[in-house]
Subunit: 346 residues, 2 copies
């Protein structure tokens, strides 16, 4: 299946609205950067690599629509756009990396029209780089998946999340395409049900056998010997190998460790943030209470109940068997090896 | 709050329909035993102690409605009723204990009218015993809750689940009534959301500060030092102290152990099943896929997706800090101590 969850065509950013899946396949044509900002905030598009790509296209779109001929005015408006995208979501580092790259492109050129063209080119380059990285890491990671394996995964890390092949789900697809007979257990991933809505949908499209479970059934299945490995993605990886990822990841890591099951994190090197020493420093987004108290506008809790709704958690590196990137598979000690990997010229 | 989730009045079993809470408070007047059976299967009434009490009343009601004067015919019809209740749900032992007690009462008497009266009396006795046990265990368990504690609980173990004061939630209420300033974190408890719908509702009624979270956020909050202890209920406790309880319990036990947080199971001794050596022998109910793929008839997953939906899991006793019963608090070694407790004459 060739699924294009993000495209930049002429003067529109086109995204597949992931909040409508799997019931409806709706593409949104976003004609101005504010709509792109809103789509990211409302998680119509989500997943660390996909957010980075979408923000880059959104910035290119925003720049294209600036009508001034005055350079200072142009840069002032562009800076506003850049900082608006920067403030959409706090945890995934791909967003900040994309915004910074776009900022540098704008600073490197002087002519307004040249900047506009260069921003588009840079956005497309970010997209292509993510595609290349995710294909490479999928092939590399698929070595760890043996014939007959049942793989547990969390949230959605496929084409929808990455604007390309996928990370954890990319590995699963690659193993399947190699003819390995595998089964996938997908956690539903409350509150926004990316596992139930998106991962099972992608797996069904590929014909890969999938079983959907509620999040809290994962531990029991692991304890019953029904899981051979856990593979999931990352929103940000600190220099020491600590991983910020969808809420519930830490829980799965502890359970996998307790049951002697390999726990793999799959992420492009664009997700590694060497400026952050450990997971303690990664900001965790607290999202709206309604995600917990409602399911698609339907209340499931008493009115006025207090909630805590952290969208991500931190998994200390000690629980992680390996981090799978497009440049290779990294194991402990992460500190040294991740730095080497990121700084390596490919 | 005096909440009566189950009553037997004249020729009706009256239950509070827990599938409608918290949006609607609906009492169902069930005039024949088949309706009581259905209410248990459909989880309009749930929670191990409450299922036992409801089944006992349902059997008394069924017996009352048998119109034959022929003793063999009466016993044949009654046996059918007994085995129908026995087959409603497989995991909670209180159900089987109640059915067995009712069966013994029927065998002990000869006159049909006497049996009918004795069955009603026995059902009321089972109910009263559960009330007395849950009040006692709540008082005993409240010693473990210190002023300022934040307690994490799972599923619903209050008045709704026990037809009385509650088990884990009973302990929380008792501690609160003693003037201890406590906070409760309630997991939503997918798939049927007993935490979101019932526990927060009961806590709000009592005025106890409560925070609702998705199940997979529990681990992160524990790792952040935000939980002082975990208290939850049990559906069946094996002779060695292994506990069958709502799916997700094992996960919380592993997480609590990993984070050095006390993990308490609160249950009346009627939940202990000495005939079962370990948790491996406890049957785990697999419930309908629709509980996972739908939320109140609304699909949240692609049509036709395969699911696994175990309603309970097994927590090995090694993860359990203590089991709180109406006869006292039990710690390792459970094997010997649980037997002593159950066989003790009070």
């Amino acid at each position: 299946m060739i699924l294009k969850p993000i495209e930049f065509v002429k003067d529109k950013v086109i995204i597949l609205d992931q909040t409508k899946l799997p019931q409806k396949v709706v593409f949104l044509k976003l004609g101005n950067y504010e709509d792109v900002v809103r789509a990211i905030k409302e998680m119509k598009i989500r997943g660390a690599p996909a957010i980075g790509v979408t923000a880059a296209y959104g910035i290119a779109l925003g720049a294209q629509k600036i009508i001034t001929k005055n350079k200072d005015d142009f840069h002032s408006q562009l800076n506003h756009i850049l900082s608006t995208f920067q403030a959409t979501r706090p945890t995934a580092v791909n967003l900040f990396r994309a915004v910074n790259r776009m900022k540098q492109i704008a600073q490197r050129n002087t002519d307004i029209d040249l900047i506009k063209t260069a921003l588009q080119a840079e956005a497309r380059r970010i997209h292509r780089e993510e595609e290349t990285a995710s294909e490479a890491l999928s092939q590399i990671g698929s070595q760890l998946v043996e014939n007959g394996f049942t793989i547990l995964t969390h949230c959605n890390t496929g084409s929808l999340a990455t604007a390309s092949y996928g990370t954890a789900l990319g590995i699963i697809k690659a193993a399947w395409k190699q003819g390995k007979k595998i089964n996938v257990i997908a956690t539903e991933t409350r509150p926004l049900l990316q596992g139930a809505r998106l991962t099972t949908w992608e797996l069904i499209q590929e014909g890969i056998p999938a079983t959907l479970i509620v999040d809290s059934a994962a531990g029991y299945l692991m304890s019953q010997g029904k899981v051979n490995c856990v593979i999931l993605g990352a929103d940000r990886i600190a220099a020491n190998g600590d991983v910020a990822n969808k809420i519930g990841t830490y829980t799965l890591a502890v359970l996998a460790t307790e049951n002697g099951i390999p726990f793999y994190v799959a992420a492009p090197t664009s997700t590694i943030d060497l400026s952050i020493a450990s997971g303690d420093e990664i900001p965790i987004e607290e999202r709206d209470f309604k995600e917990v108290t409602h399911i698609e506008d339907k209340p499931i809790a008493p009115e006025g109940v207090k909630t805590a709704n952290p969208a991500f958690d931190i998994t200390p590196h000690l629980y992680i068997t390996a981090i799978i990137t497009e440049k290779g598979i990294v194991t402990e000690p992460y500190e040294f090896k991740l730095r080497k990997l990121v700084e390596e010229v490919t």
